[in-house]
């Protein structure tokens, strides 16, 4: 899974609810849910030190 351009995003109330990421060339909106395979892989790469997630705007 090729992941880049990761950034948290917030809901209307300012709560952090997901990660915007480019995965295998497609812009995706990944929920913060350990059962989601994209979220799990993002966090695996973050834990391995190969990926960082930018703060929400």
């Amino acid at each position: 899974m090729d992941i880049s351009s990761t950034q948290y995003y917030n809901d209307l109330d300012g709560n952090q609810v997901g990660i915007k990421a480019t995965i295998d060339g497609t812009e995706m909106f990944v929920p913060i849910d350990p059962a989601n395979r994209h979220y799990a892989e993002i966090m695996r790469q973050v834990d391995a030190g190969t990926l960082t997630i930018a703060d929400a705007d």
Binding site: G18, A35, N36
Partner: protein, 355 residues
């Protein structure tokens, strides 16, 4: 085996007479993402994926294929090598698989003295003859059992049946995570084979595949093909005839893991003019538009969402800005934008909750 004997075996083994097949989309009827791709992972037929590790130069296509030479089946899933891997190094691996949700496997009673055997059956056709490896991998406890099958005649459909022993040690958690990988290996470096785990063992790379001599030629030969259909995994040690399900039944099962706003038969894409089951967003407070899309089938988990503009080559709402995905769980998602030129807009979408 005669039909009467099959029925007697079914009744005698207390095997279910319907809903036997633990595999979803085993006849490869559904290909919601598209019918052809050069990419790995989930790209064409629903619920099945292609995976490789550490290859140097292999390129391939995966396709949902029309079948005309196997009675009762209309589709298969084909892997075609378009650039051959020159050699298979020790750490290289190629397999295709379907992951089965753990809570759908509780009837197997794994981790108890009542654990049950399962039998895998499938039709396979390849330009390559020889012996191939398969396995079941149990994700919660990282345990594996492997087996093999032989393709005797090139480019000819052959039915294979493999019974896997029960596991009285490893426990499959009762949740929405991965229970089994049901795996067919296509290339195996030496690190991935050598241990014939005919009974369940703790996974240790060398028991991913057995101790046989397995062909890698599908991956190392340009224009070689390997395709499969009629996949069934059922409780017990009898391979019964493939349980055909209706298109609508199979679609609903697949939609637990992947759903799209586009009609079936339409590959998700931007700017294709299709509105389908798109999200409709209306004026929220005059300064933004907002919409909620409930899924037709509740997802296994919160889904990854991709947006598609129906009328332009971007991921925005129609005539508006990029969506912010505000709310997202297994039942649906919402999106809004403050960058709008009107009071309403549409957005096509896909939602992926695959294992």
């Amino acid at each position: 085996m005669s039909k009467a004997a099959e029925l007697a075996a079914l009744i005698g083994s207390q095997t279910a007479l319907s809903n036997r097949n633990l595999i979803i989309n085993g006849a490869m009827q559904l290909a919601q993402r598209g019918t052809s791709s050069t990419g790995a992972s989930y790209k064409t037929v629903d619920r099945f994926f292609y995976s490789s590790s550490n290859l140097d130069n292999h390129a391939f296509t995966q396709t949902q294929q029309a079948v005309t030479d196997l009675a009762g089946f209309t589709n298969s899933w084909r892997i075609t090598t378009t650039t051959a891997e020159s050699a298979i190094a020790a750490d290289e691996l190629v397999y295709v698989a379907q992951k089965i949700e753990a809570q759908n496997l509780q009837q197997l009673a794994y981790g108890t003295s009542s654990a049950k055997r399962v039998t895998l059956s499938f039709y396979v056709k390849s330009s390559v003859t020889g012996t191939f490896s398969t396995n079941l991998y149990q994700a919660d406890d990282a345990r594996v059992v492997n087996s093999e099958y032989t393709i005797s005649s090139a480019n000819t459909w052959e039915r294979k049946e493999i019974t896997y022993v029960a596991d009285q040690t490893g426990v499959i958690d009762n949740n929405n995570g991965t229970g089994f990988y049901v795996t067919w290996n296509l290339a195996l470096g030496s690190s991935w084979k050598g241990n014939a785990a005919t009974a369940w063992e703790a996974y240790n790379t060398d028991n991913w595949a057995g101790a046989g001599t397995y062909t890698d030629a599908v991956i190392t030969t340009v224009n070689s093909t390997w395709e499969i259909t009629g996949v069934q995994l059922e409780v017990g040690d009898v391979a019964t005839p493939f349980e055909h399900r209706s298109f609508g039944d199979e679609l609903r099962r697949c939609q637990r893991y992947y759903e799209k706003s586009f009609p079936q038969g339409v590959t998700p894409a931007q700017n294709n003019g299709v509105k389908g089951h798109s999200l409709y967003a209306g004026s929220n407070d005059g300064g933004s538009i907002f919409g909620f899309k409930p899924y037709r089938v509740e997802k296994r988990a919160s889904a990854t969402v991709v947006g598609y503009n129906p009328s332009a080559a971007n991921a925005n709402f129609t005539n508006s800005g990029s969506p912010v995905y505000n709310y997202n769980d297994a039942t649906g998602f919402s999106a809004y934008t403050t960058n709008t030129s009107g009071s309403r807009a549409l957005l096509n979408w896909t939602a992926d909750a695959e294992l």
